[in-house]
């Protein structure tokens, strides 16, 4: 079976770059699509071919299915990789890609559709014997019915959007009298965010851990699990720091969890790479939460610890190859940690920080991997996700991975936009994180923004000295340019800086 000659990547940023790298190593040509905001983006420049798809807003460019299919035809691509986000979990897109005669590098539309509807996913999992959190397997139709369910499973309960995700259309209800109001609010939010007001109820786990399992499934009935990723460090339901393996999973539990994940994937007829997210309670009971029918942002920690290139496997599976890896071949080597580096200001309520990246000095050295889609003098804009890069550190064990991550975070310098690097460093230094004893409330429980500015007393003195000397050196701190940066020609310095990474 021969692989593809050329594939189109229907995405942008770091994930587009990541996919292109895998393709290049397989001698497959790549086709990039770009919006007007991304003409100079890394993915546009790194691809073998690049086609404009539209103006900056995603609906007119990276979500424009008609235009993307037109480009696919024009460019002579045989397959389309959706990356994550944008159209990755859009069953209609997967269907149209296939109907237009291209291979969709991902699962079939039915699995995407089934897993996208949370109530349907719960039904399928329950039937397959995969544990799900107590609650309803279909949308709740009335407040009376909801009351009855909530009483049965016991408060607190969560109201969730049937078509939801990412915390939207979700409400925590502590007592019965709050239920009706919360149901209305959740339904309203769900309708506006997902175009579907349907909601369901499940038991709220008090201090859960979020642990997920990577699976691979080919078209010959082989499904394997590539172990777990610990993703409990979250802010507003968005993962910030992930690692593999999880510090609380034993070999016995890993096998049980992995087998549940394989059962879940098989229950929905899954093909290609996918992730089953589980919630763990204090007693290490786990429950199916949802399945992500695509490559995950945090896939590198699995790659670093298993040595398996997930994107290459996705491409091989899509091309109709049989999985060469057997379950018994999957080993864990060392420990990997990932920090999502965002352009946001941790001192100012984590507001996104847009602007030009003036200076970018990413860390390097042993055990460090950076998946980045930004470049020096590039803009972080309001149109897309504010992620700058994913910084991954590998170590022989968890403690070496943490020490390496600390070292890398201290080496990482970005100016022009604010980043959450100081925040990531704070987590890496926190005793609760280091001990491995934490849950999804870690940031709410432990993070105080004033801790970010605290630092050691001696360093403050150094900061004061540095400020004075810098101010004296040459810049005039009272006269920043319009966007708060020094007025210097970017072209003079651009040449001096090393080439794109």
């Amino acid at each position: 079976m021969s692989l593809f000659k050329r594939i189109l990547i229907a995405n942008r940023g770091e994930i587009a770059v990541r996919i292109m790298r895998a393709a290049a190593e397989m001698n497959i040509e790549t086709v990039a699509i770009y919006s007007d905001a991304d003409r100079l983006a890394l993915h546009t420049r790194l691809a073998d071919y690049a086609y404009r798809v539209g103006p900056p807003p995603a609906v007119e460019s990276y979500l424009n299915i008609d235009r993307i299919l037109e480009v696919a035809r024009q460019s002579g691509a045989e397959a389309i990789h959706p990356g994550y986000g944008f159209l990755a979990e859009n069953a209609d897109f997967a269907e149209r890609v296939a109907a237009a005669g291209f291979v969709f590098i991902g699962p079939g539309p039915r699995a995407i559709r089934d897993m996208g509807l949370k109530t349907r996913a719960r039904q399928i999992m329950k039937k397959a014997g995969v544990p799900v959190t107590p609650g309803t397997e279909s949308a709740v139709q009335s407040k009376t019915a909801a009351n009855k369910v909530a009483d049965e499973i016991g408060y607190p309960v969560l109201i969730k959007a049937a078509s939801g995700g990412g915390g939207k259309g979700m409400r925590l209800v502590e007592k019965p009298e709050d239920l009706p109001k919360a149901m209305d609010a959740a339904a309203r939010e769900a309708a506006s965010a997902f175009g579907d007001p349907q909601i369901y109820i499940e038991k709220y786990l008090e201090s859960p851990r979020h642990i997920e399992v990577q699976i691979l499934a080919d078209h010959f009935g082989n499904t394997i699990y590539l172990n777990e990723r610990e993703c409990s460090i979250q802010r507003r339901h968005q993962k910030v720091i992930e690692e593999a393996p999880s510090p609380i999973i034993t070999a016995t539990l890993r096998k049980k969890l992995g087998e549940a994940a394989v059962a879940a994937a098989q229950a929905c007829g899954y093909r290609n790479a996918g992730t089953i997210e589980f919630l763990f309670d204090k007693n290490l009971n786990f429950y199916f939460m949802e399945m992500n029918t695509r490559l995950q942002v945090e896939h590198p920690v699995t790659e670093m610890t298993t040595g398996i290139d997930l994107v290459k496997e996705q491409i091989r599976i899509a091309a109709g190859e049989k999985l060469k890896i057997k379950q018994e071949d999957v080993k864990i080597s060392g420990h990997a940690m990932e920090c999502r580096i965002y352009a946001e200001d941790p001192l100012n309520n984590f507001y996104p920080s847009v602007g030009q990246i003036r200076y970018l000095n990413p860390p390097a050295g042993p055990g460090i991997r950076i998946d980045s889609g930004v470049y020096e003098l590039g803009e972080v804009n309001v149109y897309y996700d504010p992620m700058i890069s994913k910084l991954v550190a590998w170590g022989n064990d968890r403690s070496e991975a943490i020490n390496r991550m600390r070292r890398a975070l201290r080496e990482y310098h970005i100016t022009g936009v604010r980043s959450n690097i100081p925040f990531c460093l704070l987590v890496m230094n926190h005793p609760a994180f280091v001990s491995g004893q934490f849950d999804t409330h870690f940031i709410t429980d432990h993070f105080r923004s004033e801790d970010l500015a605290r630092g050691p007393k001696e360093l403050k003195k150094v900061a004061a000295i540095a400020a004075v000397l810098a101010a004296k050196c040459q810049v005039n701190p009272s006269a920043p340019s319009e966007n708060g940066h020094y007025e210097i020609s970017p072209w003079l310095t651009a040449g001096r800086q090393s080439s794109l990474r």
Partner: protein, 172 residues
């Protein structure tokens, strides 16, 4: 020459003694500073300890505020108010002159789209109350009251795009 710096309310008085020594609150240090490959990048050696630092100026919302620098050092970010003796005197003078200052202006912290106004003119709010919801990069951000007071005026409406630094609401 004497300089006054402030980090989180802590004062550091820096005096340059000659081209290789300085004092901080009276403590003397030997120093050597070199600018790196970027104007904001400095290598500082202080009593033999080497520090890599990136320094950017922070745009002030108010004209009367002291100039402020952001110092990135060993993974920490410090906001350092920094001025010399003369400009400190000048600024203090200017601050007295414009005593009807700009406190109470709720400013957009980033560019974005106004989704919802959570208050009405005349409403009493507490410090930390949500005032306006602004969407930026697909995320909803609740802009909170920096102080307690009465909503004097509202300067934006839903679906309006705002620039960073734009006045959203005035609180009295």
């Amino acid at each position: 020459m004497k300089y006054f710096t402030e980090i989180d309310g802590e004062l550091f008085e820096v005096e340059l003694l000659d081209d290789h020594s300085l004092s901080v609150n009276g403590e003397v240090f030997d120093f050597n500073v070199q600018q790196g490959n970027r104007p904001e990048n400095f290598s500082l050696i202080l009593d033999g300890r080497s520090h890599q630092t990136w320094i950017e100026s922070i745009k002030q919302q108010k004209n009367t505020a002291a100039p402020s620098l952001r110092v990135h050092l060993h993974g920490f970010d410090y906001e350092v108010i920094c001025e010399d003796e003369r400009s400190r005197q000048l600024r203090q003078f200017a601050a007295v002159e414009s005593s009807h200052d700009e406190e109470g202006y709720l400013i957009a912290p980033m560019p974005g789209l106004v989704l919802q106004i959570l208050v009405e003119p005349g409403q009493q709010v507490n410090k930390g109350d949500g005032i306006v919801i602004v969407e930026a990069m697909k995320m909803e951000n609740e802009i909170r009251a920096p102080q307690a007071g009465e909503i004097k005026s509202i300067h934006v409406k839903p679906k309006q795009t705002v620039e960073k630094g734009e006045i959203l609401v005035v609180i009295n």
